[in-house]
C-alpha cells in the first residue's frame, strides 16, 4: 500500500477512535433511551436488544415534561429576543459611529461577563424573593438577558462591522432615514450573523444551570432543573431519564453543530479567529 494512503487510514482509525470515546457517554444515553426499563439496568449491559419507543411515549404523555420543555423554550427564546432587541441599537451605533470610547465600552461590557455568578447569588436571590420573581419565567428571562447581553452586543458588533458601508451609504443617499437604514438594509444584510448570535444565546440559555437551579423550583423550572430532580431516585427510571435527556439535548446539539464556527468567535470574544 502507498505510504500516504496507509498514513491516512491510520489517522482515520485514531481520529474516529478519539471521537468515539468522547461521544460514547452521549451514545450510551441515546441507546439506553430505546431500551425497556429492565434492560437499561441489566448487568452485563446489553448492546443488542429489541428497541422500543415506550420511554419516549411515556415521557411525552407526562404533562409535566411538556411543561418543563415549554419553560425552556419560552425562557431561552424570550431572553434571546429581549437581548437582541436591546443589543441591536447599541451594536449599530458602535459599529457605524465609533467614538473614542467605543473600544473601552465594548471591553467594559465583556468584563461584566467575568463576574462569577456565585458572587452575586445572594443579592439576586433576595431581590427575587422580595419582588416575587422566584420561580417565574420572566425572572429567569431577565437574568438570562443580562447574562448574555455582552456577548450578543459584541457578536452583533463584529457582524455589523462586516457589512459593506457603501451599501448603507448608498441607501442614505437615496434618502433612507436611520430607522429605514437599519430595518431595510442593515438587518437583512447581516441576517446570518444575527441568526448565529441568536443561536448562541439560545444554546447558552438552554444549558444554563446555576441560576435555573437556584431561582426556580417547579412553576418556571426549565429542563435543566427538571432533570436535576432525577438525581435522587437512582436506577429506577434510567431508560425514561435517558429518553427525557435525549429530547432535552437534541435541539441544542443540532444548533451547536450548525453554528460551531461562529461559536468560537462568540465564546472567545474574538480573541481567537
Amino acid at each position: 500500500m502507498h505510504p500516504k494512503t496507509r498514513e491516512k487510514l491510520i489517522l482515520t482509525l485514531v481520529g474516529w477512535l478519539a471521537a468515539g470515546l468522547i461521544f460514547f457517554p452521549i451514545f450510551w444515553m441515546i441507546l439506553t433511551s430505546f431500551k425497556p426499563e429492565v434492560e437499561a439496568i441489566a448487568t452485563p449491559p446489553r448492546l443488542f436488544f429489541t428497541p422500543t419507543l415506550e420511554n419516549y411515549v411515556t415521557v411525552r404523555e407526562r404533562a409535566d415534561y411538556i411543561h418543563f420543555a415549554m419553560n425552556s423554550i419560552i425562557i431561552s427564546v424570550g431572553a434571546t429576543l429581549l437581548a437582541t432587541l436591546i443589543a441591536v441599537p447599541a451594536a449599530y451605533a458602535m459599529a457605524f459611529f465609533p467614538g473614542k470610547r467605543t473600544k473601552d465600552l465594548l471591553l467594559w461590557m465583556l468584563s461584566t461577563k467575568m463576574m462569577p455568578a456565585v458572587g452575586v447569588l445572594i443579592p439576586i436571590y433576595l431581590l427575587f424573593r422580595d419582588t416575587g420573581a422566584i420561580d417565574t419565567r420572566w425572572g429567569l428571562i431577565v437574568v438570562y438577558t443580562l447574562m448574555n447581553l455582552p456577548i450578543v452586543v459584541w457578536m452583533l458588533y463584529t457582524f455589523f462591522k462586516e457589512v459593506p458601508k457603501d451599501i448603507l451609504e448608498a441607501g442614505r443617499m437615496d434618502g433612507a432615514k436611520p430607522k429605514q437604514e437599519v430595518w431595510m438594509l442593515l438587518l437583512p444584510l447581516s441576517l446570518p450573523g444575527i441568526a448565529s448570535t441568536a443561536l448562541l444565546s439560545i444554546i447558552l440559555c438552554w444549558n444554563e444551570a446555576f441560576w435555573s437551579l437556584n431561582l426556580t423550583t417547579s412553576q418556571a423550572a426549565p429542563l435543566t432543573t427538571f432533570i436535576a430532580s432525577f438525581s435522587a431516585p437512582e436506577g429506577l427510571f434510567w431508560a425514561k431519564l435517558s429518553a427525557a435527556s435525549t429530547i432535552a439535548i437534541a435541539p441544542i446539539l443540532v444548533f451547536g453543530w450548525m453554528s460551531q464556527r461562529q461559536l468560537v468567535r462568540g465564546l472567545t470574544f474574538g480573541a481567537v479567529k
Binding site: 467575568m114 433576595l126 435543566t224 453543530w257
Partner: protein
C-alpha cells in the same frame, strides 16, 4: 440630520470636533439602554454582596442583625471549610485545565489532519459541550460511574477487579472527570480554529527544511497556539471557578466537604444555612479570585479589538 450623514460615512477617521459632539448625541440613546442595564446588573448586586458581607444577617432569625465589621470575614477565614473549599476549587480548576488543554491540543492537531469522515468525527467530538450540565452529570453518575449498574463497574468486574465507588471514594476526581469531559470540546474547538489559521505556506516551508512531525509540533504549531491556549485557560478558569450543577447533581459537595468548591460552599451557607452575611463574605472572595483572572483576559481581548 443632513450634516451628520456626511460624517458617518467615514467612521474611524478623525472628524472635526464640532461634528463629533453632534454624533455622540445621536448614538447615546442607542447605546444607553445596554450600558445602563449592564451597569445596574453589575454594580447593584456587587454592592449588596459587599454590604451584606459586613452585616449580621440570617434569613431564618430576624433578631440577628446590625453591623458586623469584619466578623464575617474573620469567621470565614478561620473556618477550615473555607480553606477546604478553596483548595478543592483550585484543584478542580487546575486539573480540568491540564486535561482539557493537554488533550485538546493533541486532538486539535489530530483533527487538523486529513482523514476519512473527519468533519463527522469532529462533530461527535465537540458534542459534549452542548449537553446541559445536569444531563451530563446524570449520565456519568448513573450509567457510567454507578458502583453497581454502571458501565465502568461492569468493565472492572469483567477484568476481575473490584468495582470502584467513584463518588464515594474519589468524589472530587469524579467531578473533575465529568467537568473535563464537558470542557474538552471547548478547548478542542478553539485550538482547532487557531491551528487552521496557521499559514499553510509556513508549514510547507518548515517541511521543506526537513522538520519532522515533532519539531513541527514544538517549533511551529505550539508557538502559534500560545495565544489561543492562554485564552482557553482564562475563559475556562472563569467558568470553572463557579462549577455548580455538576456537584449539585452528583455529590452535593460530599462526602463531608470532599467535593465542595467555593461556589457550592456559598450556596450551602446562603440557601441551606441561611447565613447571608457569611455567604456574602465568601462571595466577595469568589469575585476577587475571578477578577484576578479577568484582568489578564480583558488585556488579551483588548489587543485584538484594536482594528
Amino acid at each position: 440630520m443632513a450634516s451628520t450623514t456626511t460624517t458617518v460615512s467615514v467612521p474611524g477617521a478623525t472628524a472635526p470636533a464640532g461634528r463629533r459632539s453632534q454624533r455622540n448625541v445621536r448614538t447615546l440613546p442607542l447605546i444607553a439602554p445596554s450600558v445602563i442595564i449592564l451597569f445596574l446588573w453589575m454594580i447593584v448586586p456587587l454592592v449588596m454582596t459587599l454590604w451584606f458581607s459586613f452585616q449580621y444577617y440570617n434569613l431564618l432569625d430576624p433578631s440577628v442583625g446590625g453591623f458586623a465589621g469584619f466578623e464575617n470575614y474573620t469567621f470565614l477565614l478561620t473556618d477550615p471549610s473555607l480553606w477546604t473549599a478553596m483548595a478543592n476549587t483550585l484543584f478542580l480548576v487546575f486539573w480540568v485545565l491540564v486535561i482539557t488543554v493537554g488533550l485538546g491540543t493533541l486532538l486539535a492537531v489530530l483533527f487538523d489532519q486529513e482523514f476519512y469522515g473527519r468533519s463527522i468525527a469532529r462533530l461527535l467530538a465537540i458534542a459534549p459541550f452542548f449537553v446541559m450540565p445536569t444531563v451530563s452529570a446524570l449520565i456519568w453518575k448513573n450509567m457510567l460511574m454507578h458502583p453497581v449498574n454502571g458501565l465502568f463497574a461492569f468493565f472492572a468486574r469483567s477484568l476481575g477487579l473490584p468495582a470502584i465507588d467513584f463518588f464515594g471514594s474519589f468524589p472530587l476526581t469524579s467531578v473533575i472527570i465529568i467537568v473535563a469531559w464537558q470542557w474538552l470540546p471547548f478547548a478542542l474547538l478553539i485550538l482547532l480554529t487557531a491551528i487552521q489559521s496557521l499559514d499553510s505556506e509556513q508549514k510547507e516551508a518548515a517541511r521543506m527544511d526537513g522538520a519532522g512531525p515533532f519539531s513541527m509540533f514544538f517549533f511551529i504549531i505550539l508557538p502559534h497556539l500560545g495565544r489561543a491556549i492562554s485564552v482557553v485557560i482564562m475563559i475556562e478558569t472563569i467558568f470553572l471557578l463557579s462549577v455548580f450543577a455538576e456537584i449539585y447533581v452528583t455529590t452535593s459537595g460530599g462526602p463531608g466537604l470532599a467535593s465542595t468548591n467555593l461556589a457550592f460552599l456559598i450556596y450551602l451557607r446562603a440557601l441551606r444555612e441561611y447565613d447571608v452575611g457569611g455567604a456574602s463574605a465568601a462571595g466577595v472572595i469568589a469575585v476577587i479570585l475571578a477578577n484576578i483572572v479577568a484582568i489578564f483576559l480583558v488585556r488579551s481581548i483588548a489587543k485584538n479589538i484594536a482594528d
